[in-house]
């Protein structure tokens, strides 16, 4: 909870079968390659200070395809990932599942609570060409839905023992705060008030003048970096019609000086945090989901100004990763903040 982390967001929907600066995707979406600078992702502190990282991977997990498939990666130096007992070769198997079947998600949890974990050795070169490929156990490729991949990197100091990452009750000094869209203007139109603003569809909204010094309390003077942990997301009922892909959401957050992150879409973007995925259950119902570290964490520097404006952009898996166009209603975010120990 108190370790600086890095995050990477890879939108396959931004790629085409023609190679571009950011990557390329096969016509059947089974194979996707992203180009990025890992030094940018990890940030200077993590890049220069650590040799080993725990890499966590998760995706939006649309149900499509025809059965059991293995997800291979090539590009990150992941060690000790064996398929059928064999040593990892040119490609490393990092996941296997029946991709035609939706994971049985309870209403309150999503797959970010079960990320795949690997040890990564920092590569010599910072430029990475990461290929993610689904391969059926038996049978020919089929066209599958585009996926959005989320990666998190947690540094490992090879002189320390870390408790299991799945230990969930933490003793860190923390503060917590809640941002609820209910204080923003209601109705179906874009509007603003003294607490912030929202667009007509309530999928982009800003909370203004949040006093981070007041929120952080005694942490403000003790640390220079902090982890913002999105503990839970609640969504008020909406009557909009959703496709499966549109139900799979996550939030880009702008307004704090988020470090160690990269978004690869049609280009590269740094500086904004992003939450764990949130899968909206059913039309006309409220929904709440709980989060699990590290996908719920974003590291940020102490703001230069005590007051910040936080803007939330609601993305969905639709089209391989786009800001949603579906009409939403107020959303509620509860965060913890802990100081990052240097």
């Amino acid at each position: 909870m108190d370790v600086e982390i890095a995050k990477l967001w890879l939108n396959s929907g931004s790629l085409t079968t023609t190679p571009s600066q950011t990557g390329v995707i096969s016509a059947d979406n089974m194979t996707v390659t992203f180009n990025f600078d890992l030094r940018v992702v990890l940030g200077e502190t993590l890049w220069s200070k650590y040799k080993y990282f725990k890499m966590y991977i998760n995706d939006t997990y649309p149900a499509s395809g025809t059965g059991m498939a293995t997800l291979y990666q090539n590009g990150l130096n992941l060690i000790q990932a064996s398929y059928q007992g064999k040593t990892a070769g040119f490609q490393t198997a990092i996941d296997e599942t029946n991709i035609s079947t939706t994971v049985s998600l309870p209403r309150h949890l999503n797959r970010s609570a079960n990320t795949r974990t690997f040890v990564m050795i920092k590569p010599d070169s910072n430029n990475v060409q990461l290929t993610l490929q689904f391969v059926y156990e038996i049978g020919a490729p089929t066209t599958i839905a585009q996926r959005i991949f989320f990666l998190a990197f947690v540094p490992i100091d090879d002189t320390k023992i870390y408790p299991s990452p799945y230990t969930m009750l933490y003793q860190n000094e923390q503060v917590n705060f809640t941002l609820s869209g209910t204080i923003l203007p209601s109705g179906g139109s874009a509007a603003s008030n003294q607490f912030g603003s929202r667009n007509a569809n309530f999928n982009i909204f800003t909370f203004t003048n949040i006093n981070m010094r007041q929120i952080l309390g005694s942490l403000w003077d003790k640390y220079d970096k902090f982890n913002l942990i999105c503990n839970s997301i609640g969504m008020a009922a909406t009557g909009a019609t959703f496709s499966q892909a549109q139900r799979r959401m996550w939030y880009e957050i702008e307004g704090l000086q988020f470090i160690n992150n990269l978004r690869v879409t049609t280009g590269y973007k740094q500086g904004n945090g992003f939450t764990q995925p949130f899968f909206y259950g059913e039309t006309f119902t409220n929904d709440c989901e709980y989060a699990q570290a590290p996908m719920s964490i974003n590291t940020f520097r102490k703001p230069e100004s005590e007051n910040v404006d936080l803007t939330f952009y609601c993305w969905t898996a639709n089209g391989g990763g786009t800001i949603t166009v579906v009409q939403l209603n107020p959303q509620v975010f509860t965060f913890s903040v802990v100081g990052v120990k240097e």
Binding site: Y52, K54, Q80, S82, Y83, Q84, G85, K86, I94, E96, T97, T101, S104, L105, P106, R107, H108, L109, A113, N114, R116, T117, V119, I156, I161, Y162, P163, S164, Y166, M168, L169, Y170, Q171, N172, E173, Q174, V175, N176, F177, T178, S180, T182, I183, F195, I210, Q214, S232, G234, A236, A237, G281, T285, N286, C288, E289, Y290, Q292, N329, Q331, V332
Partner: protein, 516 residues
């Protein structure tokens, strides 16, 4: 590297190093897995390891002769397991097998892809031969001992399955030491009657007069004084036709020295009585009919702490009623052939994080204030009075000046409405750290917001959730007796629908000291 891990994917469908598998796909073996190859340098550095299941999924046609044959467990042997008592083997001395996962397969539901939330539970094994055979065998709840693992009658045919495992080192005194106790309630033929226990006539209580904790926690029992027990996965065949709150079945454990525990188990309005000896480890939801099945491996509730007393303890597991005032009254428990319940409890030493557990509910409260407390008409808010939080946290109260309080388990009762699918929960009564909650236009809110709580959407449905400790705030040690008040708010800021009762339920809090 000290924080090593290794990943291994095994699939019965793969043509790479294919497994040997029988025609019914009930028994299959991946031969000669090179453990040094899988583990890397970990293999040479450590003597014990932890195996954790990341995922499983299945594919292909399934045929079963009757529904209970589809109510299965995936068992594994081949590694030298330590710290195991697995009743389904028919003996509490059999350490050959462990239950990896539960499932339910049928011709209509043959592709399962359950979410598995691994909050620290694992299967420990000792380093053995470099080349190991991973031998899997299915068992159904109709079969109940190791001699029948993988042996099914003709007509029962299962499908391909993949497992994704994570290996980590076990470092004694520091990380990953874990024991599994696989409970099995199976009552009759074919039987596991050799298990030494006394089952009550109504089959709601299972007493073990001298449960051998030292044997269960073989490799780490002597090295520690504080332990925790966690309910991580369960599987159940419906006991009878049950609907509504009667399906809610808290799982109570007693006999261990639960030092930091307060469980409300009475609706007495004279005062709040918190029981220390009986802890609610988790809650199972009874399926609504005898041919209905349920299993859950995404139940991340917090463990409950206990102190070592003696090696043999009078362990008792009791299935309680929804309000936790007596045994369950769900139909079918008294049958000679039911219930079929399997629960995997995991026991771990506590390395440093001592924890307290507070299990409460609004039962017994009315809109007229009593010594117990008070609630409003629609269970939107309730207050329980005079909770001795110092006693609940007794083993570590004096060590800290502030505490993190997590809401770690919620159980939602039936409402005619759908309880809105979720609500925002606030808590009062403690002296919290400064709170800023942008939930109302005042911006200042002296109560603490724990977060958004998930319930359910189907009318008259019940659910019990583990929250992964995602609902948390911090309070100062300024008072030892508190009146704890919970208040629900809608997510859209409007009033609750008339038929909604958001706080109609049970709540478990877990408290830890804050290291400054």
């Amino acid at each position: 590297m000290l924080s090593d891990s290794a990943s291994l994917i095994l699939s019965t469908k793969s043509t790479i190093n294919p497994c040997t598998i029988n025609a019914q796909k009930t028994a299959f073996t991946f031969n000669n897995i090179d453990m040094k190859n899988v583990m890397g340098e970990m293999w040479d550095k450590y003597d014990q390891f932890a195996l954790k299941l990341v995922s499983l999924s299945t594919e292909g046609a399934v045929s079963i002769t009757f529904s209970q044959q589809g109510h299965i467990t995936y068992n594994l042997r081949g590694l030298e397991w330590s710290n195991v008592i697995y009743e389904t083997t028919g003996s509490n001395m059999n350490k050959e097998w462990v239950p990896l996962a539960y499932g339910f397969l049928s011709p209509g539901v043959n592709a399962i892809n359950p979410l598995i939330i691994n909050t620290g539970w694992s299967f420990n094994f000792k380093k053995g031969n470099r080349y190991e055979n991973f031998e899997f065998a299915l068992s159904s709840s109709y079969y109940t001992n190791a001699s029948e693992f993988g042996v099914f009658t003709a007509g029962n045919n299962y499908n391909n399955v993949e497992f994704h495992f994570l290996f980590e080192p076990v470092i004694p005194g520091k990380m990953n030491e874990c024991a599994i106790y696989g409970f099995n309630s199976t009552p009759s033929t074919p039987s596991i009657n050799s298990i030494k226990r006394i089952v009550s006539a109504d089959r709601t209580e299972y007493s073990y007069p001298d449960f051998n904790m030292r044997r269960l926690c073989n490799l780490f029992w002597d090295k520690h004084d504080d332990f925790e027990i966690q309910m991580a996965m369960w599987s159940m065949n419906g006991t009878g036709v049950n609907a509504g709150d009667i399906r809610i079945t808290p799982v109570q454990m007693s006999g261990l020295n639960f030092v930091n525990n307060g469980t409300k188990q009475s609706n007495n309005t004279d005062q709040l009585n918190l029981n220390t000896e009986n802890a609610i480890i988790g809650t199972i939801i009874n399926p609504n009919g005898t041919s209905a099945y349920a299993y859950d491996m995404a139940y991340p509730v917090a463990p409950v702490q206990f102190k070592k007393d003696g090696d043999n303890v009078p362990l008792k597991i009791a299935f309680r009623n929804s309000e936790n005032t007596g045994p369950t009254v769900a139909a079918g428990y008294t049958s000679l052939t039911r219930p079929f319940i399997q629960i995997a409890f995991f026991v771990k030493p506590i390395y440093e994080v001592e924890k307290a557990t507070l299990n409460i509910n609004p039962w017994g409260l009315t809109t007229t204030e009593t010594n117990l407390g008070v609630r409003d008409t629609d269970y939107i808010t309730f207050t329980l009075k005079n909770i001795d939080i110092r006693k609940v946290c007794q083993s570590f109260w004096d060590k800290y000046d502030r505490f993190n309080i997590f809401l770690t388990q919620t159980t939602s009762f039936t409402t005619a409405s759908n309880s809105s699918g979720g609500y925002r929960l606030e808590i009062e009564g403690f002296d919290f750290i400064p709170q800023l909650s942008l939930t109302n236009t005042r911006r200042q809110n002296q109560v603490a917001t724990l977060g958004s709580v998930s319930t359910f959407v189907t009318a008259n449905e019940v659910v019990s959730n583990g929250t992964m400790a995602s609902l948390v705030t911090t309070f100062y040690k300024t008072r030892s007796i508190v009146d704890l008040k919970l208040t629900a708010s809608t997510l859209n800021g409007a009033a609750f629908p008339a038929a909604d009762r958001p706080l109609l339920g049970n709540f478990t809090f877990t408290i830890v000291g804050v290291k400054m």
